[in-house]
Symmetry: C2
């Protein structure tokens, strides 16, 4: 089910720059108990991304109204919002002035049916061979150029492996194909710097904020495989899973540690707020 610029639709113009160049961005939002989790943060990231790509910023109030319309009373779902630059411009050259007309696409799908066990006991992850490109101009933005993630995700078929970790230049372990990445060493929470590669996840930001609130020391830096091998705890985050521990990374096992447990509870509590109307 889709809404395209406020109208029910199944298709998009073949001239849309979203298709032609991947010229746009998206948000994936968990809807639980009729709440659009971390709505304000998703809107802020979408607006920041639009500004960086010089795409006209959609009205968050309009998006919320359209989301409610598309959800049609459904309490639990995944809401995906795509904003593309629309049809303006010729070739790579885009119309960046305020007269441009972005395409606004909303989609609602079922929440994934993840085993409840994953959050309590953790998941298995692996390293991918496909590398993340390095580009400060695009880093952090959840844009539509996601071939690297598609290629990385195609590296394994084993259903037992939940996620693949991707390295950027200089062997820097940067993120999962669809999640952000943390490790704990000697009580300090570490997460990879995303100023050159990767998507700055909403839950990643929430984790960092809640960790600081709880006086857990935080470091954001560049880490390689050896740093993860030496870690006490490893976990991943995204908007659909929240925080999940990693219990196996390749052949190495981790236990679900106290910092991870503390942050799982804190993020879950933050999710329970009606963040459609209230920022945490």
């Amino acid at each position: 089910m889709f809404l395209l610029n406020g109208v029910k639709a199944d298709t998009l113009s073949l001239q849309d720059r979203g298709l032609q160049y991947g010229d746009g961005l998206f948000e994936t939002i968990a809807v639980r108990n009729h709440q659009l989790e971390f709505w304000q943060r998703h809107m802020q990231r979408l607006l920041d991304g639009c500004q960086r790509l010089r795409i006209s910023v959609p009205d968050p109030e309009l998006l919320l109204a359209e989301a409610r319309q598309l959800l049609d009373g459904r309490g639990d779902a995944v809401l995906k919002i795509i904003v593309t630059r629309g049809q303006d411009g010729r070739g790579y050259r885009a119309t960046t002035d305020s007269g441009s007309k972005p395409s606004r696409i909303l989609a609602v799908n079922d929440l994934p049916d993840y085993p409840a066990d994953n959050q309590a006991n953790g998941v298995v992850v692996r390293y991918c061979d496909t590398r993340l490109g390095t580009n400060p101009a695009l880093a952090g933005i959840k844009h539509l150029n996601r071939l690297e993630q598609v290629m990385a995700r195609s590296e394994w078929q084993d259903e037992f492996i939940f996620e693949g970790l991707m390295l950027a230049a200089h062997g820097r372990v940067t993120e999962g194909t669809m999640s952000n990445l943390f490790f704990v060493k000697a009580g300090i929470l570490h997460t990879p710097d995303l100023s050159h590669s990767g998507v700055a996840g909403i839950v990643r930001d929430v984790v960092l904020k809640l960790a600081r609130k709880q006086q857990i020391p935080v470091l954001i830096g560049h880490y390689n495989k050896a740093d993860f091998t030496a870690a006490d705890e490893v976990f991943i985050s995204n908007s659909l899973i929240g925080v999940w521990p990693v219990w196996r990374l390749e052949q190495q096992r981790f236990s679900v540690g106290s910092v991870t447990k503390k942050l799982i509870s804190a993020v879950d509590a933050a999710c329970l707020k009606d963040v459609t109307h209230e920022a945490i």
Copy 2:
């Protein structure tokens, strides 16, 4: 005008992975005097790209028949062929088996109205600030993840500047936003290595082949701005322009040199063959 999987269409499914992830690739082919220039080379690159991305390979004979149908007797045009992975798979995970159904999109548009002077006297180019990402898994492929080019092309509005040159990691001058790049120094033809970034252009390959045929020594390597500053001749290439000299790069002027002239003639001659049926 579009054909989608052989049928006239204006729109594509919103579920198509071409839109969702930029999960696909394309070719831009010049049609002149009813000839699809370098058709066999375009098909070879498209097939190579599909294999690298594990997208089912479309039938070149079918594409040619559809191109002729869409052209409908038009002798001069730009034919764009997009192949996406279609709708298969869930999230980044794609169906890569032979049962997947790619989307095949053909579009016909007018040839750009370039000044005739450009090939004789050259064009003005600049350097872009937007960098090219580094990714050996995707390098060379003309894929749909083109946000870097869109951002680079948005850096200037001056109609007098035809092209922007993009640097990759380590300050390596790699390509234009929509063209490949060459320089001549002391009689040796140089062009940037594209094994980590960039699109391996059809005319670039033709230029390299024809240069070797004419005993012009060729080097493919990593070059920075200083190498271009010290060059005797600079030129760019793509499927619509063929080969055009650069007469100004930022503040530096170049004359249209003998190697460039020789290669312009050779590529033009190669274009005149009916390459729809005959490889050069």
